[in-house]
């Protein structure tokens, strides 16, 4: 190996080492970020917060929403809190969002991480109230209904339904949350009189299911498409259906008169 070849190899090795060190650092760094981002789902965000990935990208962590919140609801996450460092969040059980009509936190946001398009606080979706029906006093048969009374969207976000009780003539009056109206302000969680709140605000992604696009609720008037399943015509030899009832048809009840 001549001298220049050796120097070349050393040079290439150096570059490789540099890149490897940067990559190692970058991987650890990315891991730290990813771990933090995973905690985001536990944080209840201020009104108008964009969808979490966009919010996490755009929030500059300046805390101006926190400064302008008149009820000291909002906090900036310190290292160790259950939210990515420096992002605003609130704990509804301590201080809920009182849904100011002028939404000062959104106005304070300089980046647009809190969407300036949010003009009516009723359209905010900070989280979703979820009831633990095993520990809810109303569901246990008492007349509580505090969450229903304090709800700023009473009869829209929380309704009271009557449920017949098994062992008594009296009906139960149970609260139900409706996700199409609940803003996640948390006034219900703060008001809940049980030792640990039986109604609490959670990120909808933690609690909401999704039935899937293919389900059609044919008995509901607002489901437009009730029968969009069209069997594909078979080709070739097998196209002719066999005579008589197809397998799986209701042959067991054949001959029964329904008159």
């Amino acid at each position: 190996m001549n001298k220049s070849e050796k120097a070349r190899r050393q040079f290439l090795t150096r570059i490789g080492q540099g890149v490897a060190m940067a990559a190692t650092g970058g991987l650890v760094w990315s891991y730290l970020i990813k771990e933090q981002a995973n905690a985001a789902v536990l944080a209840i965000r201020p009104p108008g917060a964009l969808d979490e990935p966009d919010f996490l990208a755009k929030c500059i962590k300046c805390g101006q929403c926190v400064v302008d919140c008149p009820y000291d609801t909002l906090m900036l996450a310190a290292p160790g809190d259950q939210a990515p460092i420096g992002t605003p969040f609130f704990k509804p059980r301590d201080i809920p969002c009182y849904m100011c009509e002028d939404i000062p936190c959104v106005k304070a946001c300089p980046t647009g991480a809190l969407d300036p398009a949010l003009t009516s606080i009723d359209d905010a979706r900070m989280g979703l109230a979820v009831i633990d029906i095993e520990n809810c006093l109303s569901w246990l048969g008492l007349r509580c209904e505090l969450c229903y009374r304090v709800c700023p969207l009473m009869d829209k976000a929380i309704t009271i339904e009557t449920n017949p009780r098994k062992i008594s003539k009296h009906a139960m009056f149970v609260p139900l949350v409706h996700s199409d109206a609940c803003t996640g302000c948390g006034m219900c969680e703060e008001a809940c009189p049980t030792q640990e709140a039986a109604i609490r605000i959670l990120d909808p992604s933690l609690v909401q299911g999704k039935i899937g696009e293919h389900y059609r609720l044919g008995w509901k008037s607002d489901t437009k498409v009730t029968q969009d399943f069209k069997p594909v015509p078979r080709k070739g030899k097998g196209t002719k259906r066999p005579e008589g009832p197809a397998p799986g048809q209701d042959y067991l009840n054949e001959g029964i008169s329904y008159d």
Binding site: A22, G25, S30, A57, K61, C62, Q64, P79, A108
Partner: protein, 308 residues
């Protein structure tokens, strides 16, 4: 040997003198003047944020300084923002509202004028921590445990920008101990003290000027911003005896390359933080704050023959 022969002469033919710590309090305060001003600015900035948030300080019925060093608003009118944080966010592919863009532009322009790293030594809340660590390691005579190239920070700066693109969030803002510190002072520290303590120990025990001089990508960013800064340390070439006092107190001694300085008649590097330490220790008053354009003009009229 005569006493005259004992005296060492500088390249300008004058005897080399060294810095004497002033004996009187007035002399000491004068020697510490920039350090005192820096501490006042550093702590009063944090105090204004703290007072506006916790005590609702108002001026003309408007909040004085709302937010923190990542983004803020002066008197509810003038937006300010950390241009490095804004750059990272833009690299994630998200456009931002005008307010924060204007704020970043204002801050960027100011630092481009007075020196990017003026942020580092005059505003950054980590600076008192690392200065204290530096002072203490000097007192205790602690030597470096490891050493890095000072250009490591530019690799980390590049990594910050690449990771912002790849992870979709402002990569440095998510781990920045600087932001943890100033956010912590205003909005609650949590475990943020760990990051600050980590930097203190690193600077004290592991590497001299370790964080600010080798690692911090924000300082690296501002070093680039300050490349064309107007406010510079002017270097009066004929008076310099090369005693080296300036480089001994400088947190970025590579910027005080006397050969380069004597040609440029100033400390030209953007890595200079304009802290003013060198000015106060120079026994010959060779160094002073001046404007780049003024230095250039006066250096042209100066006769070249006095150069050593």
């Amino acid at each position: 040997m005569t006493s005259e022969q004992k005296v060492k002469l500088g390249p300008n033919g004058k005897p080399i003198r060294y810095y004497q710590v002033p004996k009187t309090l007035g002399g000491k305060l004068k020697a510490w003047r920039y350090m005192i001003l820096r501490r006042i600015l550093q702590f009063s900035t944090l105090l204004l944020f703290y007072g506006t948030f916790n005590w609702e300080w108002k001026l003309f019925e408007r909040p004085v300084l709302s937010g923190n060093l990542s983004g803020s608003e002066v008197l509810g009118l003038i937006p300010l923002a950390d241009p490095f944080a804004v750059l990272q966010i833009l690299l994630t592919g998200h456009w931002l509202e005008n307010s924060v863009l204007i704020g970043a532009l204002i801050v960027l322009s100011v630092y481009a004028l007075i020196g990017g790293r003026v942020w580092c030594s005059w505003v950054c809340p980590i600076n008192p921590v690392t200065d204290f660590a530096g002072w203490l390691r000097n007192k205790l005579g602690i030597t470096n445990a490891i050493n890095f190239n000072r250009n490591l920070r530019y690799t980390i700066l590049a990594l910050t920008l690449v990771l912002s693109v790849l992870t979709g969030v402002a990569a440095f803002e998510w781990v920045s101990p600087i932001s943890m510190a100033h956010r912590g002072v205003v909005f609650g520290l949590g475990l943020g003290w760990m990051a600050v303590a980590g930097i203190f120990l690193f600077d004290l025990m592991v590497l001299k000027h370790g964080w600010c001089g080798h690692v911090c990508p924000l300082g690296a960013f501002y070093a680039q911003v300050g490349r064309v800064a107007q406010l510079r340390i002017a270097f009066d070439t004929p008076t310099c005896t090369h005693c080296g006092e300036c480089a001994r107190v400088c947190p970025e001694p590579q910027v005080l390359n006397l050969k380069k300085a004597s040609i440029a008649h100033m400390v030209a590097s953007g890595e200079c933080t304009n802290c003013g330490r060198c000015i106060t220790v120079c026994p010959e008053d060779t160094l002073k704050f001046d404007l780049r354009s003024h230095i250039k003009r006066s250096s042209i009229t100066e006769p070249e023959s006095v150069l050593p």
